[in-house]
Amino acid sequence: MIFSPDRPVQMRVYSVPSHLRVVRAAIEKVCELVDLDDAAAGRIVLSVDEALTNVIRHAYGEAEDKPIDVSIALVGEESDAALEIRLRDFGPPVDPSQIRGRDLADVRPGGLGVHIIQECMDVVEYRPAEGGGTLLVLRRALTGGQAGDGT
C-alpha cells in the first residue's frame, strides 16, 4: 500500500510562512493519489495549513528558524482506511484542554484555525512529543468521514 505507516511521506519544513505552500502542495498530491474528491482534499489541506499556522504563531512566536516535522500516511484497512497527518513541533508543551475554537457568532478577525481543523478532520489529537514539543495527529477517513462536507 502506498503511504503505509511504515512508508510514510516525511519532510521537515521550517516555520517560514512560504514553507506552508510546499506542505499544501504535498498534501494535495497525496490526496489526488488516494482518490479523495476535491472537497475532501480541500478540507484536509486547509486543516494542515491552519495547524501549521498555529505552530508558527503560538509554539514558535513567529520565529522563522524552527523545525516542524510532517508525516503523511494511510492508516487502517478498507472501510476504516484514513489519511493521517502528523505534525511535530519542538516548542513549549501545550495543554490540549486549552485548545478550543471560539464563538463564531462573534464576527471578528482571527481565532478561527482551531474551529476549522475540528470541523474538517475526524480525529484531532494533541500529544506530548517524545523529547519535547507537541505531536498533532490529524486523521480523516477516506470514505464516510464525519467531518463537515458529507464525504
Binding site: 486547509l46 463564531l104 464576527v107 474551529h115
Partner: protein
C-alpha cells in the same frame, strides 16, 4: 528574510465603486499585504468595494481575517463590501466559518457591479 508579498494585482474604479483584483493565494505569506492594500483603498471612501477573487485558488483563515477586518472597517464608514467570483474551496471556507451569511457574495464581478 521576510517573504511577505502583496497579492493585489489591480484596483479599478467604476464610479464610486472600487474593484480590487487579487491574484494568487491569500495565506500567511500574503494576507498582510492584502489587508494593507485593501484598507488603503477603503481610505479613499468608495461607496462600495468589490473584491474580485476569481484569481485566488486558495485562502486560509488569515485571509478570512483580512476580509473581516475590511468589512468591519467598511461598515463604520457606510461602505459596502462585496466578494465576487469565489471558487468552491473559498466559498466552503466561508461556510465552515459561518461567514457566508455575513458577507455579500456574488458569482461574478459583473453581477456585483450590476447591483444598485
Amino acid at each position: 528574510m521576510s517573504d511577505q508579498t502583496d497579492p493585489v494585482r489591480s484596483v479599478q474604479w467604476e464610479g464610486q465603486t472600487a474593484v480590487i483584483a487579487v491574484q494568487g493565494d491569500i495565506d500567511l505569506t500574503t494576507s498582510k499585504g492584502f489587508q494593507e492594500s485593501s484598507l488603503a483603498v477603503l481610505a479613499r471612501r468608495p461607496q462600495r468595494v468589490v473584491v474580485d477573487l476569481s484569481g485566488v485558488p486558495y485562502m486560509d483563515s488569515s485571509g478570512i481575517a483580512s476580509l473581516v477586518k475590511l468589512l468591519s472597517r467598511a461598515r463604520r464608514q457606510d461602505t459596502a463590501v462585496v466578494l465576487a467570483a469565489l471558487n468552491d474551496r473559498t466559498r466552503g471556507l466561508l461556510e465552515i466559518t459561518r461567514l457566508d451569511t455575513v458577507f455579500e457574495i456574488r458569482p461574478t464581478v459583473k453581477e456585483a457591479l450590476a447591483q444598485p
